[in-house]
């Protein structure tokens, strides 16, 4: 079975931010393929995770890691002309040259037409449907046979409100054309779930309510192919406020409580991805999954795992275990055979990658790559910063040996991926961090 997530807009991105963390900590078992569709930029944590996952590739297929399949995050560019005003983007002419009788005036207000595209879509679903239509043909939105796909996005915002229905519809159409078998489509839809900041979008509440009604109605009429869906928010009191700036950076965002929208959305996404029991209902409203489903991940357990794995990764890097290991005569007794073999195998690959030239400084290169991936740089978030801050636990050296280190099968290697010692060190570092975080002790 394949698992596909299509995360649309800022809400979809935030759900993926939490979902990917739970996967990395081994709390979600199966790998997934995620596509982010947003007219805005991809949040920093997901950029880091996308690059990190791509560094895990070992075999010829993009999903083939060392001894296990790995996730992929696609971030296709949504082509919107950010330098233009809305009017010019829609009509191809300057706003003041658009005649009074031009059809665009029937669908968009004057206020919308003069708005600059680089300031986002301001919760206007119609705008995203039109300006982003090329995304529907992107290959990253194709599905394989035997796939469960979950579409995640809000029905109140501009991007997801306008793109959700066309993307689901395009997936259905591609399934028909390409004769894809056994594609199950589900959705996590966010209604009104946060208190908007009126300074960003004037009359936001009114607009959100209007969007919610419009999009849910159009989904009901157009997306009969959805097997099931779950709605987050939409009714009841709203006591959640978003912080767009910290979401965009996503540096060490604290984990939300069980009931808060993005954490809940990540749980709902996992539930809908793996659920196999609910029968297909003929009536669309009967396909709605209630929010009392059994949570796939316990938050308390997750917090405990997080603390343990983060401590282990921190100490592995700060104590320079790889460098110590490379200078240790009693290497098996202290660090164990598995880790030694893993580092040695990557060292072998590094030598082969540079045509047999000895790479005597490979352990130092690997250590540098570990630091780079874990701590990041001024421009790029490190993997450590994707997770929330935690208190550290003391870890004995012997615990490193207890990690379930993988073994490299050198017959499966894609040599094109390991062309130099630096590149090999980076991929080895990604595999080591992935193993520590996901498998732990």
């Amino acid at each position: 079975m394949n698992y596909k997530l299509v995360c649309i807009g800022g809400t979809g991105q935030m759900v993926l931010h939490y979902y990917a963390q739970l996967y990395l900590l081994g709390l979600i078992k199966e790998p997934f393929e995620a596509t982010i569709v947003d007219t805005d930029s991809v949040i920093a944590s997901l950029q880091t995770l996308r690059d990190f996952f791509s560094n895990l590739q070992y075999g010829s297929d993009a999903t083939e890691g060392v001894q296990s399949d790995i996730p992929i995050i696609f971030t296709p560019q949504v082509p919107i002309p950010i330098d233009d005003r809305v009017g010019k983007a829609l009509t191809g002419r300057p706003v003041d040259k658009i005649g009074d009788r031009h059809p665009v005036r029937a669908f968009f207000s004057e206020e919308t037409l003069v708005q600059s595209m680089n300031q986002g879509l301001y919760a206007r679903p119609a705008l995203s449907s039109i300006t982003s239509k090329d995304i529907f043909n992107d290959e990253s939105l194709d599905h394989k046979s035997n796939t469960t796909a979950v579409f995640v996005g809000s029905v109140i915002g501009g991007t997801s409100g306008g793109l959700l229905a066309p993307i689901v519809d395009a997936a259905k159409e591609k399934q028909r054309v390409n004769e894809i078998q056994a594609l199950k489509m589900r959705a996590v839809l966010y209604g009104r779930y946060f208190t908007p900041d009126d300074s960003i979008i004037p009359d936001a509440v009114k607009r959100f309510n209007s969007n919610q009604l419009l999009v849910l109605r159009s989904i009901k009429e157009a997306l009969q192919q959805l097997h099931s869906y779950l709605i987050v928010g939409a009714t009841g009191p709203i006591d959640y406020t978003r912080d767009p700036n910290s979401e965009r950076n996503a540096r060490q965002l604290p984990w939300q409580e069980e009931h808060e929208p993005f954490w809940f959305g990540a749980q709902a996404t996992e539930y809908l991805l793996k659920e196999n029991v609910i029968p297909a209902a003929a009536n669309f409203s009967d396909r709605e999954v209630q929010d009392d489903f059994k949570r796939p991940v316990s938050r308390d357990e997750a917090a405990q795992v997080l603390r343990q794995r983060m401590s282990l990764a921190d100490i592995f890097i700060n104590k320079k275990v790889v460098v110590r290991l490379s200078r240790e005569p009693w290497v098996n007794a202290i660090w164990g055979n598995k880790l030694t073999e893993l580092v040695g195998s990557f060292w072998d690959i590094a030598i082969a990658g540079q045509g047999g030239t000895p790479a005597s400084d490979f352990p130092e290169k690997l250590q540098n790559a570990l630091v780079d991936l874990w701590k990041g740089s001024d421009r790029r978030l490190g993997l450590h910063d994707v997770f929330p801050p935690t208190s550290s636990e003391t870890t004995q050296p012997g615990n490193i040996q207890r990690v379930a280190w993988p073994t490299l099968d050198q017959s499966k290697i894609n040599k094109d991926l390991f062309t130099s010692a630096e590149v090999t060190a980076k991929r080895a570092a990604a595999t080591i961090l992935f193993t520590i975080l996901r498998r732990g002790i």
Partner: protein
């Protein structure tokens, strides 16, 4: 500092610990010096004979040579035995270079305390010094044809007990050389049985 940076251990605290140890050692040796003065003052006018002095000095020198050999070998022995047994429990033992510094320092402190400080505090005639009489302190001023340290290379003609600063320095030096020896052996072993020995480069 160089070794520490290479190994990346928590070097600042290590250096602080070393500095603290040094201060304690300095006070210790000051105390020992005072004891030496008092002991010498306490010697009676009836000094030991030249033959007795020679005999005790030889016994003391034998022990000194033994301790010198220990200083050379102890870091090597510690580096061979401790990491495989306790390395999984203690981080300092997992740092192949820095731990040699710790072990050499440890050996230097233990050997110096045992060989130099104990006689001044507890006196001769007991423990490992059973073959040396308490009256050996009285030989410091006696001319009895002492062999000198390192088979006469250092302080020939002077009683070994009178050369305790040199004894101390030689023991510490032996431990330092022992640390270097352990480093060389460790480097050879790494190439023979460590990670580099398993790397051949696949084609």
């Amino acid at each position: 500092m160089f070794v520490e940076a290479k190994d990346g251990s928590d070097g600042v605290s290590s250096m602080k610990k070393i500095g603290k140890t040094f201060h304690i050692a300095a006070f210790g040796y000051l105390f020992v010096f005072c004891c030496v003065c008092l002991t010498a003052y306490a010697q009676s006018n009836d000094g030991p004979s030249r033959t007795q002095c020679r005999q005790w000095d030889d016994s003391y020198l034998f022990l000194f040579n033994f301790f010198l050999a220990l200083g050379l070998l102890l870091p090597l022995a510690l580096n061979t035995l401790l990491p495989p047994v306790l390395g999984r429990r203690f981080w300092p033992l997992t740092s192949p270079r820095l731990r040699l510094v710790y072990m050499s320092l440890f050996a230097a402190v233990i050997l110096s305390t045992l060989f130099v400080a104990i006689p001044f505090i507890m006196g001769f005639g007991t423990f490992i010094f059973a073959g040396v009489d308490q009256g050996y302190f009285g030989c410091e001023t006696t001319k009895f044809g002492a062999t000198g340290l390192l088979f006469g290379l250092v302080g020939s003609g002077i009683a070994a007990i009178a050369q305790w600063p040199a004894v101390l320095a030689l023991l510490v030096g032996a431990c330092a050389v022992g640390g270097l020896l352990a480093f060389v052996v460790s480097a050879i072993l790494v190439n023979r049985v460590g990670l580099p020995s398993r790397v051949r480069g696949i084609t």
